[in-house]
């Protein structure tokens, strides 16, 4: 009996722990995912609420009103109609970030910040006073970190009829200044399915040579003498069974070069060799340190997870991964984060698009504070990579991004796709200046070389920013 009593005591503890686990998991999953579930399209609880509350406005960082309810234009239910910015270029540029009232854009600010916009955070006192005065409740205003003018300008720089995305971030704080995706549509009009997709954060791309930043970081951290080693580029690197040997763009042969030179000219041969020397495990570990395979749960932004392939890791695949092809998948937002990490001494800040929410009566209800997302690499690795990226812009593939008098750093990329005739043009980079701490990532689909198509766009964006007080 004594043994039975002891066992029963343990059983009792186990049963209580079992139910406590339930409570803990419930609390955890609500804290982490709560807002996402709340804003998802399946939330039918909101439809009734939306008829009772006038949603708040959405404003950009300079106070420009991007979305508001116009009482002078009531819709069929008698509620004020949701109206977007009067300038079509501006509202089309912002449509993916802001979202629209018909839920065509998934997880734009309109749907993601539903709780604030429809006044769910209002206190009892406020509700009571509204009720007493017989007024309809008005939700909170959401102030974004995005700049509408910059977004409109950046959109105009893209070649006509080309799809793509562009992200600009402040790498010291994590504020996202612009997040545009092409093709765009008018929120007050019709949207095709491709136009509704947000290519900046929800569509996956192969990073191309921009991934060499991560390959280099991995090599610098894992391989002691890699910076001084001499590599030989013969134009063709035999890998695996020889069906997919590593070649360079335009079949270039670079001869003997160091890692730094290889980065500058974006030599595929060298980076394939570096990747093979490192081995898949170390490269994967560095990539995961940069955020690959991680579940991005940013507070105010929904970004699709980047993935580093884990199946079929043959020699050929590893070699091409080092170059940035193979099965790597990444969003332009993530590549902007990578560039930010290099600029910010190896620390990746969490990107956020909502600066603050303000109640209708003027009280600030919440402010988003900058938060560190993760440390992607050591400080000295970041310093070295910064130098390499500077050399790309001064004398390498990215000279089209150079601005006299400004330390622009960057990396170009031209990702090949079998389904396209031209490559995807990539450019990721930043301005290495504490007064102008901005990072950029651009991808233009089916457009050609990164240095020729994407780098000039970056230069123009940076110039505009410098001229306009950034």
């Amino acid at each position: 009996m004594k043994q039975l009593r002891n066992n029963l005591r343990r059983v009792g503890v186990f049963l209580c722990i079992m139910l406590a686990v339930l409570a803990a998991y419930g609390a955890y999953s609500v804290i982490v995912n709560g807002n996402r579930w709340f804003s998802s399209a399946s939330n039918t609880f909101m439809s009734r609420k939306k008829k009772e509350v006038i949603p708040g406005q959405i404003l950009d960082r300079n106070g420009m009103v991007l979305a508001f309810n116009d009482a002078s234009r009531p819709d069929q239910d008698g509620m004020p109609k949701r109206v977007y910015h009067p300038n079509p270029a501006v509202r089309m540029a912002m449509v993916h970030a802001v979202g629209d009232d018909k839920n065509r854009v998934d997880k734009g600010v309109e749907s993601f910040m539903t709780a604030s916009l429809y006044g769910f955070d209002m206190s009892m006192a406020e509700r009571l006073s509204c009720f007493m005065q017989g007024k309809k409740r008005v939700g909170d205003d959401v102030h974004l970190t995005l700049d509408a003018a910059l977004s409109a300008y950046a959109t105009s720089l893209f070649p006509a009829d080309k799809k793509g995305a562009l992200v600009v971030m402040n790498y010291k704080t994590g504020e996202v200044l612009t997040e545009i995706s092409l093709p765009q549509f008018d929120p007050e009009g019709f949207a095709s399915e491709t136009a509704a997709q947000n290519r900046a954060v929800r569509v996956m791309y192969a990073p191309g040579s921009t991934f060499k930043i991560i390959t280099t970081a991995s090599a610098l951290e894992n391989d002691e003498g890699v910076a001084e080693r001499a590599y030989q580029c013969t134009g063709v690197l035999q890998v695996g069974d020889g069906t997919r040997n590593v070649t360079d763009a335009g079949n270039a042969v670079h001869g003997q070069l160091t890692l730094q030179r290889a980065f500058q000219v974006s030599c595929n041969n060298t980076f394939a060799r570096v990747a093979l020397n490192l081995g898949d495990e170390k490269l994967k570990k560095t990539a995961e340190r940069f955020g690959f395979n991680d579940n991005f749960l940013f507070r105010t932004l929904v970004v699709e997870n980047s993935s580093y392939p884990s199946e079929n890791r043959t020699e050929t695949e590893i070699a091409w991964t080092g170059v940035g092809q193979s099965e790597l998948l990444v969003t332009p937002m993530h590549m902007c984060l990578v560039a930010s990490a290099v600029a910010n001494e190896g620390v990746m800040m969490e990107p956020y698009a909502v600066a603050r929410t303000v109640a209708h009566n003027g009280d600030t209800r919440s402010v988003t504070q900058p938060r560190v997302y993760r440390r992607a690499m050591e400080t000295d690795t970041a310093a070295r990579l910064k130098e390499y990226m500077r050399l790309v812009v001064t004398g390498g593939t990215g000279t089209a991004a150079n601005i006299p008098g400004v330390r622009v750093c960057g990396k170009t990329g031209s990702a090949q796709l079998d389904t396209q005739e031209n490559t995807n043009a990539w450019f990721v980079g930043f301005m290495d200046d504490p007064a102008h701490p901005y990072a950029i990532a651009i991808v233009v689909e089916d457009a050609g070389g990164g240095g020729s198509v994407a780098a000039p766009i970056a230069r123009q964006v940076f110039e505009w920013m410098l001229q306009n007080g950034y």
Partner: protein, 419 residues
């Protein structure tokens, strides 16, 4: 003036009083919304029923007041929420509650006065297996996995009845240290249920059997063997009956990523989660929520409706009430004089715990969803009766403990006539 009253008020009475107040206010509130006279009548009737159920019953037989109060709280919560969803649900649940109370009293008296079930054991086991297997032969399928049988216009779920039988049989066998027959019987029950696609109940049986096995033998090896055996059976099932298996696996897929199919397989889970989040910590308020959107809102996902309207904090409190009931059961088990009664009481507590874990776990996406009723709260006649029987058994053991204690006291003081 009122302070004096409180000091004389025993915590048992104060508890019942608080519960009565809770439901009085709740039904009055509902009445204000619906403006139906039935609500106001219920606002008076339900607290009186609670008073009777908690305090009045103790006059009939030595019952455990605390346990009764907590159980009545949960049952009344079920009636309240079901009434709010649809008045017919509330009424039928109230009837179920009445039947349940009768069953509870019956079970209590059974356990209190029947010292052991040695002779009845074999017939009970055979009857249990027969009842479990009955739906395979003459079953009516409801909701894809439910295993019901209909007898003369009255349909019930035999697996709920066999729960009680299984508890008694397992306890009898394990008390006499006949571990292998006990585990064998449990394994057969679980297999029959799994074949019927009733994975939720199978899991509850399995969990209870493991807990009882550990309590009786203290060997983790047994538990490990049981889990290993279950895994092997699942593997065998996937090879022998692939289409059945893939049907079951579709539930696992829906659990892993419900957003892949938000209008189809994942609908129930997503709507439940969204309801929970809409509630927030304090809930949207009684009568304000949109709980009818969730499929199975009256039995499987009723917890989500509660969390939606009363809030997540309240949901945690309900979980705590279940924990208190289980702890009470374990206390009763520890105070038992014989192995049989100790195992019986702890088996009851374990069964309630496992069932609560499985159903709420499925609701919050901790484990795949199964079609189990939340004890005491979900709509369902057989479920309510079986849960009340379990509570009745616990009370029977508790009454027996009290009688044993009295006997021991007499023995000690007088050395006199033993019983």
């Amino acid at each position: 003036m009122s302070k004096k009253k409180k000091r004389h008020l025993s915590p048992g009475r104060a508890l019942v009083g608080t519960v009565m107040l809770f439901y009085f206010l709740a039904f009055m509130l509902l009445g204000l919304q619906k403006m139906e006279w039935q609500c106001f009548v219920l606002a008076a009737v339900v607290p009186v029923l609670i008073l009777f159920g908690s305090v009045g019953i103790t006059k009939l037989y030595p019952a455990d007041t605390l346990l009764l109060s907590l159980v009545n709280f949960l049952c009344a919560l079920g009636v309240l929420v079901l009434y709010r969803l649809k008045p017919e649900y509330g009424m039928s649940q109230a009837v179920n509650y009445g039947v349940g109370v009768a069953a509870m009293i019956g079970c209590t008296l059974l356990i209190r006065y029947m010292p052991h079930f040695r002779l009845l054991n074999m017939p009970m086991m055979l009857a249990g297996l027969a009842l479990l297997a009955a739906p395979l032969v003459m079953g009516v399928e409801k909701n894809d996995a439910r295993s019901w049988i209909a007898i003369g216009g009255f349909s019930f779920q035999p697996s709920e009845v066999v729960k009680v039988l299984m508890l008694i049989c397992l306890s009898t066998l394990l008390a006499r240290r006949k571990v292998i027959p006990a585990m064998g019987f449990a394994a057969v029950c679980v297999l029959i249920l799994a074949v019927q696609n009733d994975f939720g109940t199978a899991l509850v049986y399995f969990g209870t059997a493991m807990v009882l096995g550990y309590a009786a033998t203290g060997s983790l090896l047994l538990v490990g063997a049981g889990v290993g055996g279950a895994a092997a059976a699942v593997l065998a099932g996937s090879l022998i009956m692939p289409e059945r298996f893939s049907r079951a696996m579709s539930r696992v897929d829906a659990w892993l990523d419900p957003w892949a199919d938000p209008q189809g397989k994942g609908y129930q889970l997503i709507q439940g989660l969204v309801a929970m989040v809409n509630g927030g910590p304090f809930g949207v308020g009684l009568g304000v929520g949109n709980g009818t959107v969730i499929p199975q809102h009256q039995n499987d996902s009723i917890f989500m409706v509660i969390v939606n309207e009363f809030g997540m904090i309240f949901g945690l409190m309900i979980l705590a009430v279940y924990v208190l009931i289980i702890l009470r059961g374990m206390m009763i088990a520890r105070n038992s004089r014989t192995r049989f009664h100790a195992l019986l009481a702890s088996g009851c507590a374990a069964m309630l715990a496992v069932q609560t874990f499985v159903i709420i776990g499925g609701n919050i996406k901790l484990i795949p969803m199964t079609g189990l009723p939340l004890p005491f709260i979900s709509l369902g006649g057989t479920a309510m009766v079986s849960c009340m029987c379990i509570i009745g058994i616990m009370q029977g053991v508790s009454a027996r403990n009290a009688a044993d204690l009295r006997e021991d006291r007499e023995l000690a003081l007088q050395g006199g006539d033993g019983l």
